[in-house]
C-alpha cells in the first residue's frame, strides 16, 4: 500500500484531481448560469479573477486568509448579480449571440482593468495549508494538506450546489425560470429575482475556484483564469451543460487527462487532454455525457 501511495501513478492521480476540482468548479459555475438564464458566460473566469483580486489583496492590509476568501466570494456574488442586472438583462429575448459578444467584451474589460489597478505581474498568495508533500516511512506521499483541502472544499461546494438545485424550493424556482419564464411567472415565481440569484450563485462558485487556483503555486495575475476557463468550459460541455454532476465529472476527467499527458508525454501538449475528451465525448453523445434525454412526445 505504501509503495502504491508513493508511486508516480499516485502523484499523477492526486495532481490531476487537484487541478480537476478547479476545472469542475468553473464548469459548475457555467452550468448554474446556463441552468438559470440559458446564457454562456464567457467572462466567468475573468469575473472570478477580479473578485479574487479585490478579496485576496486585502491580505496586504493584514486581514486573515479566510476573511479574504469570504470577501472574494461576496464580491464575486455582487459582481455576478450586477452583471446580470446591467449587462445581461437588456439582452433577454435578443439573439443568443448577443450575450456571448457582450461577455467576451466584458472579459477584456475586466482583464485590462485588473492590469491597470494591480499590474500584470504575478502575485503569490500565501496558501492556508502547507503544500509540502507528506512522508510515509521515509518515502514521499504525493499528497499535501493543501491538496486535501482543495479536494474536500470542492466536493462540499459541489454537493451543496447539487442539493440546492435538486432538493430545494429555490433550486426548483431557478430551473423553472430558466426553462419557461412565462409559465414560471404564471405560477407566481419571481423570475427576474431568480435570474439575478442564479448569476450570484454562479459567480460565487467561480470565485471559490479562482481563490483555490490563485492560492497554489499558480499565483494571481489578470489572465490567470483564461486557461482554467477554457478547461472548465470544455468540462461543462462534456457534461452536457445541464448537469452539475456532469460538469464535475468532466472537470476531473480533464484534470486527470492533462496530468497524465504532462507526465508521460509532454507538458506542451497537456492542454490537448481537454480537447481530446471533448471530441470523443461529442462523438459518443453529442448532447453531453450526463444530460438526461428529454425524450420525444408520443
Amino acid at each position: 500500500m505504501s509503495a502504491f501511495l508513493t508511486s508516480s501513478l499516485m502523484h499523477n492521480i492526486f495532481g490531476g484531481l487537484a487541478q480537476g476540482v478547479v476545472y469542475s468548479l468553473v464548469a459548475l459555475s457555467l452550468v448554474i448560469v446556463w441552468q438559470s438564464t440559458h446564457v454562456l458566460n464567457f467572462a466567468q473566469g475573468a469575473m472570478a479573477m477580479f473578485a479574487t483580486y479585490i478579496g485576496m489583496t486585502e491580505i496586504d492590509r493584514g486581514i486573515g486568509y479566510w476573511w479574504c476568501v469570504i470577501i472574494s466570494v461576496a464580491v464575486g456574488m455582487i459582481v455576478g448579480g450586477l452583471t446580470e442586472r446591467v449587462l445581461i438583462r437588456p439582452l433577454y429575448g435578443k439573439p443568443e449571440i448577443n450575450p456571448i459578444v457582450v461577455m467576451v467584451g466584458f472579459l477584456g474589460v475586466l482583464e485590462a482593468l485588473s492590469a491597470a489597478i494591480w499590474t500584470s505581474s504575478t502575485r503569490n498568495i500565501a496558501e492556508p495549508f502547507s503544500q509540502i508533500f507528506y512522508h510515509a516511512n521515509g518515502n514521499l506521499v504525493y499528497l499535501s494538506p493543501f491538496i486535501i483541502f482543495q479536494i474536500i472544499l470542492a466536493i462540499c461546494i459541489m454537493l451543496l450546489v447539487a442539493a440546492l438545485f435538486r432538493f430545494t424550493r429555490l433550486g426548483l424556482q431557478l430551473r423553472a425560470s430558466a426553462l419557461a419564464p412565462e409559465v414560471s411567472r404564471l405560477l407566481g415565481i419571481r423570475v427576474s429575482r431568480m435570474l439575478t440569484i442564479g448569476w450570484m450563485l454562479s459567480a460565487g462558485v467561480g470565485a471559490i475556484a479562482a481563490v483555490i487556483q490563485a492560492s497554489g503555486s499558480f499565483g494571481l495575475f489578470p489572465t490567470n483564469m483564461d486557461g482554467i476557463f477554457v478547461a472548465g468550459f470544455i468540462a461543462a460541455a462534456v457534461g452536457g451543460l445541464e448537469s452539475p454532476i456532469g460538469a464535475v465529472a468532466g472537470g476531473l476527467l480533464i484534470g486527470l487527462a492533462e496530468q497524465f499527458i504532462l507526465a508521460y508525454w509532454s507538458p506542451n501538449v497537456a492542454p490537448l487532454g481537454g480537447i481530446i475528451i471533448l471530441v470523443v465525448a461529442l462523438m459518443i453523445r453529442p448532447q453531453g455525457l450526463f444530460t438526461k434525454h428529454a425524450g420525444r412526445r408520443v
Binding site: 440546492l164 432538493f167 429555490l170 412565462e182 404564471l186 405560477l187 407566481g188 415565481i189 428529454a294 425524450g295
Partner: protein
C-alpha cells in the same frame, strides 16, 4: 346576451378591446365569471379566445377597457401576481418544464406560497426540509387525484399528450386557485379520459370558478353553466348551453350559415 347571476363576481371583463396594428382582436368585450361557476369561452378559430385569456392574466394589456377580479379586490394584474391572489392558468399545448420531472412540475405550482425560506432551503434546515416534504406529498396527491401518479418521476417529453395535459392541470391546482383558467383542456384526451375529466371539472366547481376555452363542444356543453361566444373579437352571444345551442347567430358563426 341574457345571462345574469346573483353570485359574487370572480372575474369581470368590462368593454375590453385589444388592437394589434390594424387588427381589432377584441372589440368591446364584456362578460363575468361568478363564484363557483364554470364559464366556457367559445368561438371559431381566430375569434379572440386566447387573446381574451392573455388579457385576463396580464400577458396582454387591453387597448381600452378593464379586466378586474372584484371578489379579490384586484384589477390589471401582472402574470406573477396571479398565483398569489388565487388565479391559475394552463396554457394551450401543455407548457410543462421539459427538464423537470412530472412531480417537480407539479411542485412548481406551489412556489407562490409562503414558507420554506431561502436560508432554510439552501442550508437544508429542518423547516425547509419539512416544507419540501409537505409540497412533495401534496403534489403526489394532486397527481393521484388526476390518475397520473405513476408518471411522477417521468420527464414530460416522454409521456403521452393526454397525460401531460392532466399534469399541467395538477400543477395549476397546486396554486390552490379560486379561479382556474383552462386553455383547451380536453384536447388530446380520448373518450374514456374525457368522461373522467368532465367529472373532475364538475367536482372542482365546489371550490373554485373555472373559465375555459375549448373546441370540443360535447365536453363544453356538459360542464359549463354559462357560455360566452366570440366571433371576430366580439361577444355575439351569452347564455346557458341550451340557450346557446339554439342561438341562430352562433349557428351562423360556427357553420357559416346565413340563418
Amino acid at each position: 346576451m341574457t345571462y345574469s347571476t346573483s353570485r359574487p363576481i370572480t372575474l369581470a371583463f368590462e368593454h375590453v378591446s385589444v388592437r394589434f396594428g390594424g387588427l381589432l382582436a377584441l372589440n368591446d368585450v364584456s362578460f363575468e365569471v361568478a363564484e363557483q361557476e364554470i364559464v366556457g369561452l367559445i368561438g371559431p378559430n381566430g375569434a379572440g379566445k386566447t387573446t381574451a385569456f392573455n388579457v385576463a392574466c396580464g400577458f396582454q394589456r387591453p387597448t381600452s377597457g378593464t379586466v378586474s377580479f372584484p371578489e379579490l379586490g384586484k384589477r390589471g394584474l401582472h402574470p406573477a401576481q396571479l398565483a398569489k391572489v388565487g388565479v391559475a392558468r394552463t396554457l394551450q399545448g401543455v407548457g410543462l418544464f421539459n427538464h423537470l420531472s412530472v412531480l417537480e412540475n407539479v411542485m412548481a405550482g406551489a412556489q407562490s406560497r409562503p414558507g420554506g425560506g431561502l436560508w432554510s432551503s439552501v442550508m437544508g434546515l429542518p423547516g425547509g426540509l419539512r416544507h419540501e416534504r409537505v409540497l412533495r406529498d401534496e403534489a403526489m396527491g394532486q397527481l393521484e387525484r388526476l390518475g397520473v401518479a405513476t408518471f411522477a418521476e417521468a420527464l414530460p417529453g416522454g409521456i403521452p399528450y393526454g397525460i401531460a395535459k392532466k399534469v399541467s392541470i395538477a400543477r395549476a391546482l397546486m396554486t390552490r386557485p379560486t379561479l382556474l383558467m383552462l386553455d383547451e383542456p380536453a384536447s388530446g384526451l380520448d373518450e374514456q379520459e374525457l368522461d373522467a375529466f368532465i367529472q373532475l371539472i364538475i367536482e372542482l366547481r365546489s371550490t373554485m370558478s373555472v373559465l375555459l376555452v375549448e373546441h370540443n363542444m360535447d365536453f363544453v356543453m356538459q360542464v359549463v353553466n354559462q357560455l360566452v361566444v366570440l366571433n371576430f373579437g366580439q361577444v355575439i352571444a351569452r347564455g346557458t348551453p341550451s340557450e346557446i345551442s339554439h342561438n341562430p347567430d352562433v349557428l351562423a358563426a360556427y357553420l357559416g350559415l346565413d340563418e
